[in-house]
């Protein structure tokens, strides 16, 4: 199950559907909002998604991981909206009979999610500027001037 969530992620509810007597391993990944990026002090950030395509592509990534690593279960959720430092931005959980497959599959899912999902991140810096990550151009960084 892959979802885009406009509301805070609730861990017990995310884990619940993964319960499986055949599983010997649950590996989870949490992506947190960090206070710095490439030398800039980050105050908060905003995620935006093209939800129908992000959820369809997210389901494809989970299906690939289930097939390739022989998973028993896979769940991933990504936040959208304005997030504060320390907030949970993304959660991935996978179950498998043995830990090796679960570790590899969890890594695969988060790596593919970062590169394939139509989700965008805007960082708000302590300096008052903002930037859409990965959207800078040679003509000039995609960075807005401080307001006021």
């Amino acid at each position: 199950m892959f979802r885009i969530s406009p509301t805070p992620l609730e861990l017990p509810a995310l884990r619940a559907p993964l319960a499986d007597a055949r599983a010997g391993a649950l590996v989870t990944f949490e992506g947190w909002v960090r206070d710095h990026n490439e030398g800039q002090a980050v105050q908060s950030l905003a995620y935006e998604a093209y939800v129908p395509l992000a959820e369809a592509e997210g389901e494809r990534i989970l299906a690939e991981a289930r097939a390739h690593f022989g998973l028993l279960g896979a769940v991933a959720v990504h936040r959208v909206g304005h997030l504060a430092l320390g907030d949970l931005a993304v959660w991935v959980g996978v179950t498998a009979a043995h830990r090796a497959a679960a570790f590899e599959a969890c890594r695969y899912i988060i790596d593919e999610a970062k590169s394939r999902l139509p989700i965008w991140k805007k960082e708000h810096y302590a300096s008052g500027t903002t930037a859409w990550i990965n959207c800078a151009t040679r003509a000039g960084p995609a960075t807005a001037k401080p307001r006021g």
């Binding site: 992506g31 995620y47 935006e48 998604a49 093209y50 129908p52 395509l53 992000a54 369809a56 592509e57 990504h78 931005a89 993304v90 988060i110 999610a113 970062k114 590169s115 394939r116 999902l117 139509p118 989700i119 965008w120 991140k121 805007k122 859409w132 990550i133 990965n134 959207c135 151009t137 003509a139 000039g140 995609a142």
Partner: protein, 80 residues
């Protein structure tokens, strides 16, 4: 001419100043449409850094556009 609905996200939404628009255009492909919109609105991202989805699925830059299509240009992504 095709009558299209276009949705914008992230940097493109900000540079366009709105999230959606309807447009009648002679552009026959997403690449031609992006070039038209870039010239009109001053988008800073070059066409080769923008992907496209038509009617909710990723599509090629030279895919044919048809009246009624929903076109979404996808700036470089940054999930996670």
């Amino acid at each position: 001419m095709n009558e299209l609905t276009i949705e914008y996200f992230a940097l493109l939404r900000e540079q366009r100043g709105q999230a959606t628009e309807r447009l009648v255009t002679a552009a026959a492909t997403p690449a031609a449409l992006y070039a038209e919109l870039q010239a009109r609105h001053g988008f800073t991202l070059p066409g080769d850094r923008v992907r496209v989805a038509i009617n909710g699925a990723f599509a090629a830059a030279d895919a044919p556009l048809r009246s009624g299509d929903l076109v979404v240009f996808i700036p470089p992504v940054a999930g996670g």
